[in-house]
């Protein structure tokens, strides 16, 4: 592991708007440099994306960007990040994706020309490799098309490159359903880590070629799937909280291979990554309820350098088009955080305390995101010599934090979930000390038809 110590050691230094290693964009936005900026993401209403619908699709994006940036300028946003997260056909056919990139960049340029609004585009192609079952991770059409879109977008002017990569997900869903921590660690820390190493080496090469920035990845398909399943009462919240802690190890690999932030919004593991790496992070919370529900609405913003809405469909609301409405909400949230920062550290820490304390006691997933738990789990991760052991350490530290919260009466855990704390500890006790032995153990357990070990180099 590249990181063997924390960049942020003191929980009180883990704060919104300030990152030890801020990022300066071409337009002059300093992300993590003392201001929280809004990051807007949007998607289409129900509409199939194909050659015959691209004219309609393009018009949606033209309307979205013009209206949302106009509102951002009216509200005097100091700058905005626009994230273009494609839908799968736009990555499968890179010319579709590129057409939208150009529309968005044109809209951003126009807003700068008309209003002086600073902005930067984050480009997030789909990781379509999982369309092959079992997934083919290192070659083939899905891999090639994805890289093609990264290259074309970076060349066109998309400055931040991100992805929600899926290596290991083909086993992780089942691991969640079974509440099997061994299989979670195999998916995230063995398969996921190896895929991240391969993927991010490649993305780093693309970024260097075009002079753009590798921003970061997210364990959305892992940690947020667990969170949503917990919201639906399918799996225990304590289990989802521990999965979150383990997911840090996988996403960290992006930063070991060239990413420098801002981490992608839906990575609720980002506070840990900020503590470890010092790079700025995007977060989402209450303003992403348009995309998914969560128990982390306020606490997530405690660490945000960018504040995002995850994704909203371009539908008409009473206040206007939904992306514009969400731009306004994000800007007001950012204003509040920036006002606190402007008043000084004490005010900022007061606001952070309110954001943290208003969520932390009510849900185990929020509890692991308290500054003290973030630092404790991050410290446990960087103390380990490899990603496998780091995953176990993250899980054990998260469970210890949950037990401590329960014992002190500071954390509410539903009675039917409490036994899962012991069950998870027992599962961890059964894991071998050595990753080689672990891999052999897991290979005998998981469904071999679902993944290709050779695609992960094991």
């Amino acid at each position: 592991m590249k990181y063997n110590q924390l960049t942020i050691n003191n929980p009180d230094d883990l704060l919104f708007g300030i990152a030890p290693k801020p990022l300066l964009t071409r337009s002059g936005m300093s992300i993590g440099g003392g201001l929280v900026y809004p990051e807007l993401n949007f998607t289409l209403p129900p509409l199939e994306v194909k050659a015959s619908t691209m004219r309609v699709v393009a018009q949606h994006y033209r309307d979205i960007i013009a209206d949302a940036l106009k509102r951002a300028a009216e509200l005097q946003a100091p700058g905005v990040v626009i994230e273009f997260e494609t839908v799968p056909p736009m990555t499968a056919t890179p010319s579709f994706g590129l057409e939208i990139v150009q529309i968005l960049l044109d809209g951003m340029e126009e807003a700068h020309r008309q209003h002086g609004l600073k902005s930067v585009l984050r480009m997030t192609p789909n990781d379509n490799r999982e369309f092959a079952r079992p997934p083919v991770m290192r070659s083939g059409e899905h891999w090639e098309r994805m890289l093609e879109l990264f290259n074309l977008s970076a060349a066109a002017g998309a400055e931040l490159l991100s992805i929600e990569s899926v290596g290991g997900k083909e086993l992780h869903d089942e691991a969640l359903m079974q509440c099997d921590l061994g299989q979670v660690i195999f998916s995230l820390c063995t398969l996921g880590v190896r895929d991240m190493e391969f993927l991010w080496k490649t993305l780093d090469g693309i970024a260097k070629k075009h002079g753009v920035i590798c921003a970061g990845d997210t364990a959305c398909g892992f940690g947020n799937t667990a969170m949503v399943l917990a919201e639906q009462k399918m799996i225990p919240r304590v289990f989802a909280a521990v999965v979150r802690a383990i997911s840090v190890v996988r996403t960290l690999v992006a930063y070991e291979y060239g990413a420098i932030g801002p981490g992608k919004d839906c990575g609720y593991e980002n506070p840990f990554l900020k503590a470890i790496t010092g790079y700025p992070m995007s977060m989402e919370g209450k303003t992403s309820a348009c995309a998914h529900l969560s128990p982390l609405g306020n606490i997530a913003s405690a660490y945000a350098d960018l504040w995002s809405n995850e994704s909203v469909q371009n539908v008409r609301l009473l206040g206007g088009p939904a992306p514009t409405v969400y731009m306004e909400q994000l800007i007001y949230d950012c204003r509040l955080m920036n006002r606190a920062l402007a008043e000084g550290r004490e005010s900022a820490l007061t606001l952070r305390r309110w954001l943290v304390d208003s969520d932390a006691t009510l849900d185990p997933q929020a509890w692991v995101l308290t500054p003290e738990n973030v630092i404790a789990i991050s410290r446990a991760i960087v103390a380990e010599p490899n990603h496998y052991l780091a995953g176990i350490a993250a899980a054990r530290t998260a469970i210890a934090g949950l037990r401590s919260g329960l014992a002190t009466g500071n954390l509410q855990i539903p009675p039917r979930e409490i036994s899962f704390l012991d069950r998870m500890s027992e599962q961890l006790d059964d894991l071998p000390d050595n990753e080689g032995d672990f891999i052999e153990q897991q290979k005998a357990i998981v469904d071999p038809s679902k993944y290709l070990p050779s695609e992960y180099g094991i």
Partner: protein, 211 residues
């Protein structure tokens, strides 16, 4: 407590070893394989499904019960086959073209199997043609279609349209997925919609006329 009652308890508590032993014991006592399924396994899984629906247990606990039932079925299946007893109902299920999400679909499969419905799972990213082909081959009473993305919702409508227009045997169509609601099901001509896996059991049994 009768052996069938004990078996039901073993299944609902996820005790695979006991489920297998009690299945053998019940057969030795002269209980027919069909009665064993109908009077013990299916009611046990129905109770488990009910507990899940009432938020008393989580999915992994439900899956443990399903595995215990499967253990019992490994003993029963050869005998059911020999006696010419096949599951009364068959369903084909899959996630529509362009969509890879399958957690919800997989849960529905488990629940339907628990209700003694034979489930043919076509997986994810399934084209409408593949659904039609499966209907021709397996002659199910019900087809379940799933989609999670707003951008793949249109594929639900397209699949319903292609199935209805095909020469495949008539079939009831159920749909589900996060962005779906009853209104959308009505709009595209589906016969049923279920918001979650628990409700999907009630819905399929209603469509089958079994309740």
């Amino acid at each position: 407590m009768t052996t069938l009652q004990e078996l039901a308890m073993a299944v609902s508590s996820g005790n695979r070893k006991a489920a297998k032993a009690l299945t053998i014991q019940a057969l030795d006592e002269g209980v027919s394989p069909g009665d064993l399924v109908d009077l013990s396994l299916v009611p046990a899984m129905a109770a488990v499904g009910e507990r899940f629906k009432n938020n008393e247990i989580f999915v992994p606990e439900m899956l443990i019960a399903a595995r215990a039932m499967k253990e019992s079925m490994t003993v029963l299946e050869p005998r059911l086959l020999a006696a010419g007893i096949t599951p009364k109902y068959t369903a084909v299920i899959g996630t529509v073209e362009g969509d890879l999400h399958d957690i919800g679909k997989n849960l529905v499969s488990v629940m339907w199997k628990g209700a003694n419905v034979q489930v043919i799972d076509l997986g994810t990213n399934v084209s409408s043609a593949k659904f039609v082909e499966a209907i021709r081959e397996h002659k199910p009473q019900v087809v379940g279609l799933s989609a999670l993305l707003t951008t793949t919702m249109p594929a639900l409508g397209e699949t319903v349209r292609v199935i209805r227009a095909s020469d495949a045997p008539p079939v009831k169509i159920m749909i589900g997925g996060a962005p779906i609601n009853q209104h959308y099901a009505d709009e595209i001509g589906a016969d049923g919609y279920a918001p979650d896996a628990g409700t999907a059991v009630d819905k399929i049994l209603t469509l089958l006329g079994a309740i």
